[in-house]
């Protein structure tokens, strides 16, 4: 296996390096990738077309919204996949093998710190989600942070404590609803007679101009993304940490 690995690494590496000389210089503003109308359009026209100052968010949620929808689907798929692979629904002996997880010792300092931190983390997550149009961040980042706050609960106390907040069913509902929110925007555009995910037409049902409809819809889909990502991040963690039993965490 080692020699096979070496051979493939050497061949691939040589192949990749041989093409480096052909690349435009690093940071060259006139390279094809940077000067072609595609990226130029995204830089110069995004604001005019969508009113979103953060070009990344605009491109992510609107121009390439279809990609992003499937990005969310990837996360969702991973969550469902991990449940289907790992989750043990029956109450037979689950943790056969594997080291015994350490006895849980409630630690005052950790507990208190987390208790203080978690609301702040969640608040920050909400900020990241909501303010993604104007600053770095958006549904993904915010969702991951929000999910991390639940993970922190599970880590600092134990999994049952986190489950009070997010029982398994609720997690899955959240994840599904997140995607439905996203796709719902697309579907709504479709019912109003435009193509899938063409938010501009939504100005007919929300009081805004087409451009503003895009702006607001992007916020909507970011929230959908955040729902899914939050739920699935926690779901993946809870499955991995309990080896699919959902009984006790680390």
């Amino acid at each position: 296996m080692k020699s096979l690995a070496l051979i493939s690494v050497v061949i691939t590496g040589w192949l990749l390096l041989s093409a480096v000389g052909d690349f435009p210089d690093w940071g060259d503003p006139d390279s094809p990738a940077n000067s072609y109308r595609l990226s130029q359009h995204f830089v110069t026209e995004t604001f005019h077309e969508t009113a979103v100052p953060n070009m990344v968010t605009a491109v992510l949620a609107d121009y390439r919204g279809y990609d992003t929808m499937f990005e969310t689907v990837v996360i969702f798929t991973a969550g469902i996949a991990i449940i289907s692979i790992l989750r043990v629904f029956r109450t037979e002996d689950p943790g056969a093998g594997g080291p015994k997880v350490y006895e849980k010792r409630p630690d005052l300092i950790v507990d208190t710190t987390c208790r203080l931190m978690i609301p702040i983390i969640q608040l920050f997550a909400l900020y990241v989600i909501a303010h993604g149009h104007h600053s770095p961040g958006g549904g993904f980042q915010g969702g991951v942070i929000f999910g991390a706050s639940f993970i922190l609960i599970a880590l600092s106390r134990d999994m049952q404590a986190a489950h009070k907040w997010v029982p398994e069913r609720r997690v899955l509902n959240l994840a599904g609803i997140g995607i439905l929110i996203y796709a719902g925007f697309g579907l709504a555009s479709m019912f109003l007679g435009y193509n899938f995910l063409d938010y501009a037409i939504l100005h007919k049902i929300i009081p805004a101009t087409p451009i503003e409809a895009r702006y607001h819809s992007m916020l909507g889909v970011e929230i959908g993304v955040a729902f899914t990502v939050t739920a699935i991040m926690y779901s993946i963690y809870s499955n991995l940490a309990s080896k699919g039993t959902m009984k006790e965490g680390l």
Binding site: G27, N54, V56, T57, G98, P99, V101, V128, P136, G137, G138, F140, Q141, V144, I145, G147, A148, I151, L155, M233, I236, Y237, L240, A241, S242, K243, L250
Partner: protein, 81 residues
Amino acid sequence: MIWQFDLIILVFLVITAIISLQVKDLLAASMIYGVYSFLMCLLWAGMAAVDVAFTEAAVGAGVSSVFLIATVFRTSRRSSD
């Protein structure tokens, strides 16, 4: 974008990557992978890719490491290579 800064991080990236793959304790490997991700995140922030850096900080250095550690706790810390 300061290329000297980038170069140093890149060198550290290679080093952390190698260490995280060579160290026999998987918990240590996971932690060093977290370091690797964090360095990567720094690098990208330096390259003006703030959104990517943000995501990497949350996903790569944060959640991924937690997933790895969870698995290591649930399986075994020892690695033969």
